[in-house]
Symmetry: D2
Subunit: 375 residues, 4 copies
């Protein structure tokens, strides 16, 4: 239970890429924002006692365990960060919710829609907060984009384009890993597309129908022990969508795109202007407004600053730049606010399942060769 000073007891499962990111956020959130109580870092779970102890020490957690069930049932733990591989999310999240804990689970909910539905049911039954780690919606730059659209800066949106590309699967000589196994999901479609879809959701609501083409850049990959194995997932996906009201959209994702390191590029065209964004330059927005002297019109490159909350909680000077990890600190504070019953901007299981439903509809479309309703 939340302690008398309002502080939350935190449990962290997993300490890889996103696990460390959660840990950094829990350590920083009070110092950055000042308006939330300092979380009590109660317990950390890893696959072995040794690793758990080592990481607990590094990340400032009081206790370590190799038994995640002990963690989710620990009375001092109020909220559980789940940062393990996607396949583990359902079991862990449901157990934590059933133990009466709030859950902060990395995206996506689960590889299979049925599992995600189970998670949502558990969340509803528990009455606890069940939130997902869609950090990009927390970027002050993205929040400003949402404000621009809401206040009509570009008029009525007429088209949306998104691309998400990285190159960690680009090398055909790289050995076969679980990322190429069908059990990991569809490939880039669920690995990547959920991120731009989370952004689209916040701007335009639910996707209504989708069409999808997926491809395997490399049919086989070498096995570590020699020989080659057929690749089962698709490292690229081209998705066409229609959102409510008929808004036309496209979503191109590629995890074999040499040179792209963390690209999430958005283009929003409206009746009075346009907005551009690229996550690789996460402190910038480009805005075109079709008004005034045509000789002076162009895309305005806006550097984020204190005019774009909560940037100013990190640095009082504009243009000095936030980093990837700072987004998780913002998300962490939103979570705390949500748990406290305050207004907050976060993607919960309720909204998250809509995003994943879009992904599954896209996969159906790839099989059927036609448009599929998201449902």
């Amino acid at each position: 239970m939340t302690s008398s000073d309002g502080s939350l007891g935190v449990g962290l499962i997993g300490t890889g890429y996103m696990g460390k990111c959660h840990a950094l956020a829990w350590n920083a959130v009070r110092a950055v924002f000042g308006d939330v109580a300092r979380p009590r870092l109660e317990m950390l779970a890893e696959v072995s006692e040794d690793l758990a102890r080592q990481r607990a020490s590094a990340f400032g957690f009081a206790r370590a365990t190799s038994d995640w069930r002990a963690l989710v049932n620990d009375p001092a733990v109020d909220v559980v960060s789940i940062t393990t591989p996607n396949a583990f999310h359902p079991e862990m999240a449901i157990a934590a919710l059933q133990a009466g804990k709030h859950v902060w689970c990395e995206k996506p909910m689960a590889p299979a829609l049925a599992d995600a539905q189970g998670m949502l049911a558990a969340a509803r039954a528990s009455g606890r907060i069940a939130a997902l780690g869609y950090n990009y919606i927390q970027n002050p730059a993205f929040r400003e984009i949402a404000r621009m659209i809401a206040d009509g800066a570009i008029g009525e949106p007429i088209q949306f384009r998104a691309e998400m590309d990285e190159d960690f699967m680009a090398d055909p000589g790289e050995a076969f890993t679980w990322k190429s196994e069908a059990s990991s999901g569809y490939g880039a479609l669920d690995d990547f597309a959920v991120h731009p879809l989370s952004l689209a959701h916040r701007l335009f609501g639910k996707a209504e129908r989708v069409f999808c083409d997926m491809a395997k850049p490399y049919e086989t990959r070498p096995l570590a022990g020699g020989g080659r194995r057929a690749v089962e997932t698709h490292d690229t996906a081209n998705v066409l969508l229609r959102f409510s009201g008929g808004l036309q959209a496209s979503l191109l994702v590629n995890r074999s795109a040499w040179g792209r390191k963390g690209r999430i590029a958005l283009q929003v065209f409206g009746s009075k202007g346009s907005i551009l964004y690229d996550q690789e330059r996460m402190n910038e927005i480009e805005l075109y407004r079709a008004d005034g002297d045509p000789a002076r019109q162009g895309f305005t490159r806006i550097l984020t600053g204190p005019a774009h909350p909560p940037y100013g909680s990190f640095v009082p000077a504009p243009g000095h730049g936030l980093g990837f990890n700072d987004l998780k600190v913002i998300e962490c504070r939103e979570l705390i606010r949500l748990i406290r019953g305050e207004p907050a901007s976060l993607i919960t299981f309720e909204e998250g399942i809509e995003i994943e439903r879009t992904v599954h509809a896209a996969a159906r479309s790839f099989a059927s060769g036609g448009w599929e309703e998201v449902g």
Copy 2:
């Protein structure tokens, strides 16, 4: 007939946007390249005698006429530049070819595929050169991109993306014009998509199948005389394609994209690297190569220069920049070379009809809601 000094007698039909561009090219081609004879600017045709005379004087043509048939039949004319609206291309091109003239016709061949087929038949029957004005393939930057792909700089291509966007239809308050009438074609699909398709053709050959979604950003437009009229064309088109060998591609075109003025953005991802290009910065190429020290890898922004022929025929110093009109001068010289029987890089009716077939297949797909073979 070509005169004894090898010079060509030129007839020009139309003096608007592309007509002037042709005229400038005919005036400049010998001075720029030196290796072709100075064309004889014999005759210019416009809708009225007055306008024809005025433009003939400005553009340096010896004679003016309001009768394009007189022009295509004039014995001093060897080659006819056709730069009138697309609907006029078939009649004019066929007449010129039947009169034994070479033809240099602006893209696309014709709104209807049957008409384009008629033009091709006339070209074959005539034995004359019948070329199309696809100027972007002439850019030294694009030629370098083609060379990069051919020499394996990025390995095996695995995905291609193209976008072409302008904003001349972006203002919903702009009055209804012929561009919104069904008789003008499909909309952005034929107006724009043929350009990036011409580039794709040169890099990857023929598209095999396509899927297409089109949209009307604005359902109606105001009439000049009051009231509103329903828009019949689609100002945006999202097209997914597969080229031979299964290469996955996407093509997004939008003529209502505020802020985009002459964007033709290409992304080519390969097994060893990537290439980026944007026509709005037509003197630049970006190349990523996945070799050497990872700490030093990135997209290399290459400024065109004498190392990218025929840039050096315009300016001996790199990075000083060619302009849009210079591409037509290069195309003009390619045409002269082709007429002289020399190797040249130009899109003739034979290749052009393949591009247009892709467009018509895309339109069929929009109607059917499924993939369509280009055929």
Copy 3:
């Protein structure tokens, strides 16, 4: 004399880099603008009869000569393009002016100030137009910048920065040439600095005092025949300036700057905004205006178009791009207008000598180690 139809008889001396550029401009100017008579390309002079004949044929000149004096005295020649190495400018320009011809001489006037003064005296005595080839002031982008400053878009200018960099002298292994001989001038200071100074002149008037530091990146260079020779010119110059009213400025020039191909980068800071420009992206301007919502402020990247005359005389669509050679066509028309007694924007010998005076004052400063008045 100008013929009855108002056309000018043109003589061209020199057919290298800028000679060809002049030739292209004389060929294109009427077709582009329509409002000037077609020049008569009367005579071309080169170092040998053969080369002259060959170039005259290529560039469309009626007659060829190896005797430039014959050219400047030819009765059919009204205006003489002088594009030879700088050391030849004084003799040729003075002879042409004394023969009653208008002169269009490439910048700078002469290596020595006394020679430039002689040229100015000859121009004054002749009553003819004596103009210099400062093409960058003709860029529609630059004209818009001048308009921005004039109409107060950035308030009162408070600081100006310019850089001009190329890399043709960057390779230390490149052989010694005349560019490294003292007789060619100071080095980058006169070779480059006059260009940004011409731009500064148009924006802010005369420089009043200067301080200069020059450097030799490489003390010696290899001789073609073996051995090495001491470099006598300075390939870099850092110049600080004050313009009238005390406006603070800096000018950094470097012809050994690897990677820079045609960079002329300007930064103008004002009390209400800022302007950025880079010649390597000559169709773009960046404008920052400190007004409106701070959350929406940033540098606006403006692509030139018909809103920036005379861009529209080349291409009716914005963002399609002019090239380096197009600037000379604009300059050519300005020259014709000036000769016709119409308002025109061109740097004549009167203004050009002020620019060169600044360069010589900078050289004095390098010697004295202190500020020098331009005088």
Copy 4:
């Protein structure tokens, strides 16, 4: 004294812009790096007890005080972060050093050179670590630049340019503050120039001579209570320098540069290539190498990633981006390493005073109008 587990007891004086930045770093350093003990946040000093208590709670410090002398003398404090206005640095740093504490003081040391010298003397006498907050040298991007130069990627450096610009003084209507009082220092020269000088120091060593021109964009500023007051500091400074070996450099700083928010732009030209950097895009480096096929040369835009340590301690994926505050975390770990007697990269008082000596020499040059030796 450092506790038995090697952890340092930390005291923080000041909680403004950089005070918070220090606090965030002390909170994060162990979780990010794992290889340093978790600091004990012992005591925080602010101007009032109330504010001190509030900030101590927010930043996780155990005790709060309004008496900074109590803090520097507290036995549990091992190291003191000094983040107060520059004028307070000498007294506080000297007291802390005399109390046997290590000192981490924000740059610059002091407005007056004599005071800085006193600080250095105290550091030497104490035998403690006395480090300065020059965070930009900690950027993985900058470290890579240093590596590039050291390993000859661009050959022998021949010229260096730096600019540092922000716009917080750009509005002439902004009221007069202490930043415009002579007691605060020279203006942009000491406020800004020390940052790029710290970078230059790391790349090229000590500056040997300097020339400086400073300007006041606005002669007076409005007083809050009405009327106007003469500005005493210079908001811009143009500095020319020569480093050891004669390397030519320039340093342009402007805190009235509209649109610039956190610009620190570097250009390093070498005999085999060039490097560009801009702090507003702090996760990017541009590298030009003059080798291989000229048709493929250009500036390579490198996104930082795990290949650029210690980026990977923050995020395992490249191109995801560090932020401004992350640099201070790196600096904090370097400080801890230095205190532990391990190799570390930090600017201590010994090096810092050289940077400040350069600034004072520049100020002398502005007065004398000639070059000044740094001494």
